[in-house]
């Protein structure tokens, strides 16, 4: 466990030693702020429902930028050899890195809690719905990060890693639009695979076992594939 913590700590330190962390934070929060005020001004309701939708869409673009360097950089700089010859398990390396980005993502998301405070100050929002919405956005971000980490483990080129993340995430996001071409079980399956379906439930205040299983199993599968990928030394 302590090795996971050390690797996560190092990842977080690396983020804040590079401009990526600050650019990501400033860019995201600025965009969220703009959309928050536009949405509140237009809707005139004490709800973060549409803000969560914007966050989800923005994380499609931002998460691959956060995750693209995770393993690609280690491979291209030669530090993968340092990590993988140290007395630490491959799973600890994967979990440590995952945890590092997840903490960074959580810090980013925590900055948006100010919106909750603002609508709380000016009205009486449904607190349970806001909380479940935040849980949904956090889980979705955690899933996106797992996808991004997995693609980063496939290549030593950060740009290619980001591109592969975009392909997978956009596919998952826009999958719901293809349901009209299918019927029956195929339609249900496509609906279940789409990230939009699941976050929508959280945003309206409904947390179901199916939605939790979707995100948690997605994270688990990506972590396992990442481990398998780094165990396959053919990348050298």
């Amino acid at each position: 466990m302590d090795k996971i913590y050390f690797i996560a700590k190092k990842e977080l330190l690396t983020y804040f030693k590079s401009p990526i962390a600050y650019i990501t934070l400033v860019l995201s929060i600025s965009i969220f702020n703009v959309f928050f005020f536009i949405i509140i001004d237009q809707n005139r309701e004490v709800s973060l429902r549409d803000v969560f939708h914007v966050m989800e869409f923005m994380f499609l673009f931002l998460v691959p930028i956060m995750t693209m360097r995770l393993f690609s950089e280690e491979k291209s700089s030669g530090t993968m050899e340092f990590l993988m010859t140290a007395p630490v398990t491959n799973m600890a390396i994967v979990l440590g890195k995952y945890l590092g980005v997840l903490v960074f993502f959580s810090i980013l998301l925590s900055f948006t809690l100010i919106y909750f405070a603002i609508i709380e100050f000016f009205g009486s929002p449904d607190r349970a719905t806001v909380v479940s919405g935040y849980i949904g956005v956090w889980l979705e971000g955690a899933f996106f990060i797992a996808v991004g980490m997995m693609t980063s483990s496939w290549t030593r080129n950060q740009i290619i890693a980001a591109m592969m993340s975009y392909v997978i995430l956009f596919l998952l996001y826009f999958l719901i639009n293809f349901t009209k071409y299918f019927s029956g079980e195929a339609e249900t399956l496509i609906q279940y695979m789409s990230t939009l379906t699941h976050l929508e439930h959280f945003i309206v205040g409904v947390i179901t076992v199916g939605d939790l299983v979707y995100y948690l199993s997605g994270i688990f599968i990506c972590i396992v594939f990442t481990r398998l990928s780094i165990e396959n030394r053919m990348f050298k």
Binding site: K10, T14, S77, F82, M84, T85, A86, P87, V88
Partner: protein, 269 residues
């Protein structure tokens, strides 16, 4: 300390190592010699558990590296050909991370850190970002991470490659000081390095070990005692470079009985 038995490594259809077997005793300083692409780095990566062997076994202190790599990795300090450095970290942060990840207990980390900083003469560089260091200092930081957990076995892959003569001398002196306490494997194609540091030579060619001898015995066995091309009598010993070129020259391979070979009359290997 190390026993390798019939190690082979294939990358697809390419065979990087073929049936490599040797033993290295505790405290020995062994030089892996070979041209680029001979298989030195692959062999080192297998010893450090970075790569699995296609066939064969590696035992370190009697422990199979394929089955118990977490135990054997604790015994090994490894400096890859490219120093594995996080360039945006400071020397202090990097070595602290190396100490943590290599499992040094918290109470000993400070002592170990101070010790390697002194040993590698990095004290005045602690707060510097690694990216700003010279190549020689980067190499020292690489060596520092390799020895921070006091490994019994030190594996150095071309540690002086690309350094200027002064940096080369400094790193070589550093390695000389390290060898007193450990078993050291050093890979290089800089032959003078082996002559200065190693006691034994493993020469690798096309993934096979072609020479496994102590340096003294190797020098003795390749003495020149005969006539040169002008018919003048001469008697001298070949240096390691001559032996290396002799074994890697296609001309010599094709013309086993030419001038060069006819003068190597006392080869006992």
């Amino acid at each position: 300390m190390i026993i390798t038995k019939n190690i082979s490594k294939n990358f697809g259809s390419f065979q990087a190592l073929s049936d490599v077997s040797f033993e290295i005793n505790k405290g020995e300083i062994v030089g892996f010699l070979g041209t680029n692409g001979a298989g030195k780095t692959t062999l080192m990566r297998i010893l450090t558990s970075f790569l699995p062997a296609s066939t064969g076994t590696v035992l370190i202190d009697g422990i199979d590296t394929a089955k118990h790599s977490l135990i054997t990795r604790k015994k090994i300090g490894y400096l890859p050909e490219t120093p594995p450095l996080y360039l945006n970290m400071t020397v202090k942060d990097y070595l602290k991370f190396a100490a943590e990840i290599k499992g040094i207990p918290a109470k000993n980390r400070r002592r170990q850190f101070d010790s390697v900083m002194a040993e590698c003469q990095l004290e005045h560089m602690a707060g510097k970002t690694i990216a700003t260091l010279s190549k020689g200092y980067k190499q020292r930081v690489g060596i520092a991470q390799a020895i921070i957990h006091e490994p019994k076995l030190l594996i150095l892959d071309e540690p002086t490659s690309g350094l200027d003569p002064i940096q080369n001398l400094q790193v070589r002196n550093l390695i000389k000081n390290l060898k007193d306490q450990r078993t050291v494997i050093i890979s290089t194609h800089i032959l003078s390095e082996i002559e200065h540091i190693a006691q034994r030579v493993l020469m690798i060619k096309s993934g096979k070990i072609i020479i496994d001898e102590s340096l003294d015995s190797l020098m003795r066995s390749y003495s020149i005692d005969g006539n040169n091309s002008k018919g003048n009598s001469q008697s001298r010993e070949m240096n390691l470079e001559d032996i290396f070129i002799h074994h890697h020259s296609d001309k010599n391979k094709d013309q086993e009985n030419d001038d060069m070979d006819s003068s190597v009359v006392n080869h006992n290997g």
